[in-house]
């Protein structure tokens, strides 16, 4: 089917199109050149005056895997307020803070997002993560595999193993779990918590393995670099949520010595300890450092006021947070000598000083970091807020007047401790297209997504221009996924399956002999059964695996 979108106003930063009027043609799921005038157009959409962007890409959203499912089970009271009945083209389920799988895919698509990436897939739980994601319709998916707290790696590091061995192990893990990238969460800290350590600073020693988070971070960062993965090491650093962790974040940036690194949900890692309440914004210092560090990218993890639930691999700090749970219940799990997870429901309140300042810190980061190619739009769904709050967040970034109005309602001391009211920056549509499309695609190595050039996947979103950007981004006029119309005026019109994005780095197979011994001695699963094969993954209902090239350095 040959589709023509006529006279749209195009925002495609990859091709430096900043609001130019163009036609777009799609056929067989791809964007194509303007066909010969003799060819019959099967379907034409006149979109004069409408804004056109590539499909949105969420680089960090907890959508699949054990901790997400625990989060779902934990809050029936939240689901009950948001039941979703099935209708033609869509399965039912429930929504709000951690929607069920079908609802997740449909709500992302309804906002014009067409690809979502699970940032914390545990190797031991990879099957479940992929199977859950296969039940998320429409959007493409992929996952970063969690490393840096697994006893195998920590044993290797404590024995002073060669970096080449570590790098092989990282590659093996990526292949075994069908991952697109690698994430580290509280390096060494999840493991240390299993040995009853309650804090682990960047240069503090793990009580059993006698290594530091710094060495784990450096080793994993080097491995990712050597393998030439498109996406840099995705880092959830030490001391999440602890006042004074702005210094840890600065030290973490320095620790990787110029290697590429992605810092995730930096808002939670940008807390100073100044002032009467010993809680202040570290955003300005961090932004300044990141502006001067072209090797660093970040996502923010903006919080929004209201009920949500925090789901993290960081058992050490989630256990500390349990006292703030709302409602009062927390799940903590130690997992398979591999990692862990902690799930704490949370209510962010605008009249609470700390929460109000967290909100300000997130926005300060967005507004102080200059390069939209290195900062991505996230709420760390669902940890800062559910992903459905993105249109509201976009309005906060694009509309200063609105931002000040929201700010005025906050806890007065938080307002006084934030420079937010003095920040005049307003994001342009072009910058939004960078941070929600072009930049995440580039960071993840998705060459055919995130732009509208000839040959790109036909993931295309058409928005009605509205002064109220929240309304505009909540309800696109049309959303196409791989050339299929999936949303029209907020109504799901089709529910195709997306693809899985992954990388397949090469490694020296001798690592398997070592792993074989380790598995036989310690594990309760056989090595061969640990690996998730291509056929198995496709059997979950995926249309295809999209493999992205690695460029070993």
């Amino acid at each position: 089917m040959l589709i023509k979108l006529t006279n749209g106003t195009i925002f495609d930063p990859v091709h430096r199109l900043d609001g130019e009027q163009r036609n777009i043609f799609m056929e067989n799921g791809r964007i194509i050149r303007a066909p010969a005038s003799t060819r019959k157009i099967d379907r034409e959409y006149d979109i004069s005056g409408h804004v056109v962007m590539a499909g949105g890409i969420d680089i960090h959203t907890h959508i699949g895997g054990g901790k997400v499912n625990i989060a779902r089970i934990l809050l029936p009271e939240d689901h009950q307020r948001d039941p979703v009945a099935p209708s033609p083209h869509r399965r039912g389920g429930s929504g709000h803070v951690v929607p069920s799988t079908f609802v997740t895919g449909h709500r992302y698509a309804e906002m014009g997002f067409t690809a979502c990436f699970e940032p914390a897939m545990l190797p031991a739980n990879a099957r479940q993560a992929h199977m859950e994601m296969a039940d998320i319709p429409i959007v493409d998916a992929g996952a970063y595999v969690l490393m840096g707290n697994d006893d195998f790696l920590l044993q290797l590091l404590s024995q002073g193993a060669d970096q080449s061995l570590i790098t092989d192990y990282v590659a093996w893990t990526i292949r075994a779990t069908q991952a697109l990238g690698v994430k580290v969460v509280n390096p060494g800290g999840i493991s240390a918590f299993k040995f009853n350590q309650r804090r682990l600073d960047l240069d503090e020693q793990h009580a059993v393995y006698s290594i530091t988070p710094r060495s784990i971070l450096q080793s994993l960062c080097t491995a990712v670099h050597e393998l030439g993965l498109p996406h840099p090491l995705h880092v959830h650093g030490c001391n999440l949520g602890i006042p004074g962790n702005d210094v840890t974040t600065l030290d973490t940036i320095a620790a990787v010595d110029g290697l590429r690194m992605h810092l995730t949900h930096v808002q939670f890692h940008a807390y100073g300890k100044e002032g009467d309440r010993k809680f202040s914004s570290g955003a300005a210092r961090i932004a300044e450092r990141i502006n001067g560090s072209p090797n660093i990218s970040l996502d923010v993890g903006q919080i929004m006021f209201g009920q949500t639930i925090t789901a993290s691999g960081d058992t050490m700090l989630q256990h500390r947070e349990a006292k703030h749970a709302h409602p009062k219940k927390t799940v903590i799990m130690d997992i398979e000598c591999d990692a862990g997870c902690g799930i704490v429901p949370f209510l962010y309140r605008d009249k609470n000083y700390v929460n109000a300042l967290q909100w300000c810190i997130g926005l300060e980061l967005y507004l102080l970091i200059n390069d939209p190619w290195r900062i991505f739009l996230t709420t760390d769904h669902p940890n800062g807020a559910p992903f459905t709050s993105y249109p509201h967040l976009i309005r906060l970034l694009m509309d200063r007047e609105f931002r000040l109005e929201m700010l005025a309602a906050l806890h007065p001391a938080a307002r006084a401790h934030s420079i937010l009211s003095s920040l005049t920056r307003e994001y342009s549509l072009y910058e939004i297209a960078i941070m929600t499309r072009a930049a995440p695609a580039r960071s993840l190595g998705l060459h055919d997504r995130g732009h509208l050039g000839v040959g790109a996947a036909a993931d295309v979103v058409v928005y009605r221009p509205r002064k109220n950007r929240e309304e505009m981004f909540s309800r696109p006029r049309f959303v196409f996924k791989d050339g299929k119309l999936v949303v029209q005026d907020g109504r799901i019109t089709d529910s195709p399956a997306g693809v899985v994005h992954r990388v397949t780095p090469e490694f020296d197979g001798s690592i398997e002999r070592r792993l074989q011994r380790y598995f036989e001695k310690f594990h309760t699963v056989r090595l061969g059964n640990f690996r998730l094969g291509d056929d198995e993954l496709l059997g979950y209902g995926r249309t295809a695996l999209s493999t992205h090239p690695c460029r070993p350095g």
């Binding site: 089970i73 029936p76 039940d135 006893d151 059993v208």
Partner: protein, 422 residues
């Protein structure tokens, strides 16, 4: 698919929640035999004869097409279908959920009571839990509450308790195992493993003992009713062991607790674990999870937001666990059609059905064919067909393999064909 004699290693056993994946199976066309690492359940499970039953309607053999037509008629005519048993793999569960949504059915599992006892505790207060590889390598103390372990998961002791801990401070130190429960279970455990401490009590006294133990572990004087006062010294000793352990694990099997107090016992154990974590490390472990219980719970949770006992009668899934339980729906005569899925064993649907139509999917069984209004012989996942299931700790998914050749369709295939016509 294997037509001739072959030996297959690292086969996953689907017959209990442990999903041991180190079995060696000899296959020979339509038969399979476990030759290594099989417990009694595995040996019997893989040896079940595949049989050659055909689909049937009211006991009379018919084509699968005809049986599907009849099943569709029944489900379309029903106001409140119930999909239960649900003993199958992930693909079977996904297909069952899709059918439930289309047919407006309620969904529960064979072990719905056990799953629900755990789930309500998690939903009420949360918990701190662990997984099998952690238990095996990290735990220096394991307390079995009301279970000897092996009677619910026959190789639990062999695989997780008997080896010495492999990692960290507890490496190669002997592991202490403590048992609290019925004398008969204590004797069963004794045959498998020497316990460091055994505290016998009747099931109905478990809550009293737990209350005293929690107080003692918190450094308070524990008290017990006079009839149990003799247990106090042992409980004091256990409290000491828990406080001084590096990593203790408290295990229970929800299906072995008294049904009317299971959730309260579990809640009490979880409360103890939470308190211990103020100073040292401790975690819980729920045993059981057999017949695909954990698989069904997870699939239902990711597709609806709720851990089973959902009902699609009103369109959107509604979660009222007490109302949507198999027994409740049948006893109140609310369910007016039953889809019974039991792919690991030919278990009959629950008795006492007041003549509601029964659609049964199970391995070939003449007896079941005779009991069912519509009967579909289906493959057993992990024996006749590949698939995926989740282990009792609800973290690890394992691949199932086909180790013998049959022409039986899978439950998923049949369920999807029925869904396609509603």
């Amino acid at each position: 698919m294997t037509q001739t004699y072959a030996t297959v290693k690292d086969v996953t056993c689907p017959f209990c929640g442990l999903l041991c994946d180190d079995l060696t199976v000899q296959t020979n066309g339509p038969s399979a035999k476990v030759v290594q690492n099989g417990c009694a359940w595995a040996v019997a499970g893989f040896a079940q004869q595949p049989g050659t039953a055909s689909a049937s309607i009211q006991g009379r053999p018919c084509t699968v097409d005809l049986a599907i037509q009849r099943a569709v008629q029944i489900l379309i005519g029903a106001n409140q279908p119930l999909i239960a048993g649900l003993a199958t793999d992930a693909a079977g569960c996904r297909a069952a959920m899709a059918l439930a949504e289309k047919a407006g059915a309620a969904v529960d599992h064979l072990h719905g009571n056990a799953i629900s006892s755990n789930a309500v505790v998690m939903q009420r207060r949360g918990w701190i839990m662990t997984t099998l590889t952690e238990v095996r390598n990290r735990a220096d103390l394991v307390v079995l509450f009301g279970t000897d372990g092996d009677s619910v998961n026959p190789r639990f002791i062999e695989r997780c308790l008997r080896p010495r801990p492999g990692m960290g401070r507890n490496r190669n130190r002997p592991r202490k195992v403590v048992f609290i429960g019925e004398a008969a279970e204590a004797r069963a455990l004794k045959r498998a493993l020497p316990a460091a401490l055994t505290i016998t009590c009747r099931k109905q006294n478990q809550l009293d003992l737990l209350a005293a133990l929690r107080a003692l572990a918190n450094g308070q004087p524990g008290s017990l009713p006079r009839s149990l006062a003799g247990k106090l010294p042992s409980l004091k000793r256990l409290a000491e062991l828990l406080r001084s352990a590096n990593y203790s694990v408290c295990a229970w099997a929800p299906g072995q607790l008294l049904p009317d107090q299971a959730d309260i016992v579990i809640e009490s154990i979880c409360g103890l674990v939470t308190a211990l974590n103020e100073h040292t490390r401790a975690a819980g472990l729920a045993l059981g999870g057999s017949d695909g219980a954990v698989t069904a719970m997870n699939v239902c949770a990711w597709q609806t937001g709720y851990p089973l006992r959902v009902n699609f009668a009103g369109g959107a899934p509604e979660y009222i666990p007490s109302r949507n339980a198999t027994d409740a729906l049948l006893q109140r005569r609310e369910a007016d059609a039953l889809v019974w899925i039991s792919t690991f064993h030919p278990l009959p649907p629950p008795g006492g059905l007041h003549n509601i139509p029964r659609i049964v999917l199970a391995p070939p069984s003449r007896k079941l064919a005779g009991l069912a209004d519509v009967y579909f012989p289906v493959s057993t996942p992990g024996v006749d067909a590949g698939g995926t299931m989740f282990r009792l700790d609800s973290v690890v998914g394992l691949p199932l393999r086909q180790v013998r050749s049959t022409s039986l369709p899978s439950a998923a295939e049949i369920l999807n064909r029925i869904s396609g016509k509603i």
